[in-house]
Symmetry: C2
Amino acid sequence: MSKVDLLGRRNFIKGLGAASVAMATPALASSVSANEVKWDETVEIAIIGSGFAGLAAGIEATRKGCKSVTIFEKMPVFGGNSAINGGLFAAPGTPMQKKEGVDDSVERMVSDQLKSGRGIADEELLRHVASHANEALQLTMDAGAEFHPYLQQLGGHSVPRTYQTTVSCGAGITQPLLKECRKLGVGTVSRAKFEGFVLDDNGKVVGAKIRTGYYFGEEGKGKLIYVKATRGVIMATGGFGQNIDLRMAQDPTLTAEVGCTNAKGATGEGMFEMFRLGAIPVHLAHIQSGPWASPDEGGFGYVSNYSIFNFPHSIAINRMTGKRFMNEIADRKTRADAELNCRDAQGNPLPPIMITSYEHAKEHPNCKKVLKYNVGWKFDSVEELAKHFDVPLKELKAQIEEYNGYVKSGNDEQFGKNMGKAKGKYIKAPFTVVRLWPKVHYCQGGVQVTKEARVKDSFTGQPIEGLFAAGEVCGGIHGVSRLGSCSIPECMVMGMTAARTIMGA
Amino acid sequence: MSKVDLLGRRNFIKGLGAASVAMATPALASSVSANEVKWDETVEIAIIGSGFAGLAAGIEATRKGCKSVTIFEKMPVFGGNSAINGGLFAAPGTPMQKKEGVDDSVERMVSDQLKSGRGIADEELLRHVASHANEALQLTMDAGAEFHPYLQQLGGHSVPRTYQTTVSCGAGITQPLLKECRKLGVGTVSRAKFEGFVLDDNGKVVGAKIRTGYYFGEEGKGKLIYVKATRGVIMATGGFGQNIDLRMAQDPTLTAEVGCTNAKGATGEGMFEMFRLGAIPVHLAHIQSGPWASPDEGGFGYVSNYSIFNFPHSIAINRMTGKRFMNEIADRKTRADAELNCRDAQGNPLPPIMITSYEHAKEHPNCKKVLKYNVGWKFDSVEELAKHFDVPLKELKAQIEEYNGYVKSGNDEQFGKNMGKAKGKYIKAPFTVVRLWPKVHYCQGGVQVTKEARVKDSFTGQPIEGLFAAGEVCGGIHGVSRLGSCSIPECMVMGMTAARTIMGA
């Protein structure tokens, strides 16, 4: 059980002090009636969470005329899990696609995502996000976000359509958005933890219970305030990848020993509070592991972005066989499952290796750090490489030769990899090598939302009034597996959508 | 949107009458504080739902010394969805296995189920159920349930371990259990719909809101009563297969047009009320379709049991190719997915056919009805059969000959089917044929429970006091796909377990 889970309901109640005595509400419900509280603050819109979705909602609401918006962030710093993600942003029909001559469309992006979703993605929501992705990308640029001057083609995408921040992480977007929020007069409060909704007699969400002066993991301290939100509350609280108990409830194999790329605050209590209000849980069982992560470092680390960039012109090798075992740019689930199958004769994990020609690997800014911090290695010959990782030499040599044939022909006869981005990029010495092993990365599940970012009630099927949600806390959009670089556009577009719905614009 | 979903929260509130005025509770919460209600009745244990789990709990609680138990059933008749299921009961180490010389064990049954669960089943719960399955089977026999004098080997089971009631449906168990309940003095009330919990100031479940005189689909009528449960409330309310909106939230392809084998009452509001209380949603995305169903009749029909019985010595044929397309006794998900891939050149569904020698088919009691009601057909020659279903004759003939070779050798080289039950049973004229197409059958998802049948809270990870759950309303036990005939033992054992936990015995 993680630190956070050890606390919770009982502490919630104790922490309420005087208010808990006054409440006739069943103690189990963290939400309270507006009749029972004294408002400490009033805003038009309260936004819970300061990742991509929350920040985009704050900016868009203000632009649409809202005079009073405040973002509440439970952690000491802003940006949430968004700030430490890969900073990868997929959008169709962008200026850079035009420059690079890439033929793309909303329908093509949706079609790629539906495939990865394996039949249960929400096509309407995907189309809504793809249709507004370019506009959201522009919003980040207007706020000052800077991107590499080239597109990447990530796993499962049929064309290159992914921008990446020059700092190769999400902070390259959250920092400019936060600055923009403040410029526009959006309130931003950190160490402010959401602990429940305030409801009127008709069940409409009219405010939020916020614990200010909150230190992560120290429940019940600080000061509880009641914030009235005259237009609505937007939940942008993210996923639950760091909540060990709850992810194990969905998948008993995702124990504390399994790595996780998420920020510590991704514990899911905002989502669970919405379920207590009647929101519909969708696809919680689908938790995605990132197939580009390294077992040699913690969290997202240096390798993840390095390998995402290099997969198109690299080979992934099973160390038992010396052979490739997957299409290196298949969707995330396909690759994570294939990597988890790489095991020694006793069935123990044997992380596969990704081999890249140094001349191409060094084009990624992380290459130096990967080598410096010993989470990747450089070899002058295939013999040296094979010996280091105990890979059968003859088979590995044959595999490299065979793959280089595919680079030449443009046709991967082994796994059907799209060789477009591998053109002319043969695998040859000197090599850089990293080890691969999946890490918990993203929760496809969450509360069900409409394309107006409203949260549906499980009894009525109608939206819960005054409540809106955006980003990873929502579920069902991506289906079984989300494609890489499709989270930022979703968060941004749905955050903007929530603001527009509230402002009627 | 189904009838039931059109009503719900708003009607709940209106329906409360005087009570709703008195409530300081947020209107969204259906559950109420004990301080706000006047008790109409008091029992030691209130059981919600009268399927296998509810009835087993009633009997076991009484046997362990409980003096006052009442089962509340929302429908006009008792037995719930259990009464119309296939009456198939898997257990390891049974008297009939000894008689037939089948080598089986708890571990072997658990191992089969873990495979079907695809890595995310709850091994501890599966072992708990398998360990007590034989005892639960005995309880049904003691109550008067009668079973066929032979075992069946269902898809995904590595040995024959499945009993079936002589009436080939679940009523062969629910009726005797209901009679036993009444004999023991367990109260049974039909047209009594659960509409929420009553909680004390510490959040403990101390009773239930029950609408008596309830007519299915007519919300807010009848009379609302408050039932105090001094020892606890057991939720045995079943799955949500008949709730179109909610199953589509998990899987957009499960529209109203998709068949469903469930009783009309399987709408899931008991489960959703537990989520509102803080129960943890697990695996809702995993909804199982029965691969043995026919598109030529409604619901479970006559064909389902007929084909479950006949699959081991039949061949399933894709009508486009004239070839087999699956192991006829693979697990349900494997088969349902394979059937859904049987399509014509335009991609439209082309339900595959199951071909059985009439001499074997007629051993099943449903065979006559299948033929009488034109949901199955008899043919004197393979030519006649091929013409009727527009199957390529040459390929079909070759396939039958090839398969008969496997019957002889005992080794299915096409799909690795276990040929033990096919021994000596060649495919030859005259034939009977049914069409196959999956129907929504079972919800693997629900609330997370411990092996004491307690319901865990999403914030604390601890059991919610006074609350217990058993049967299909629980989730996570089976993982991605439940094996056939494993639901009755689960329902029975977990119902008995809930009663034992409450009675401390």
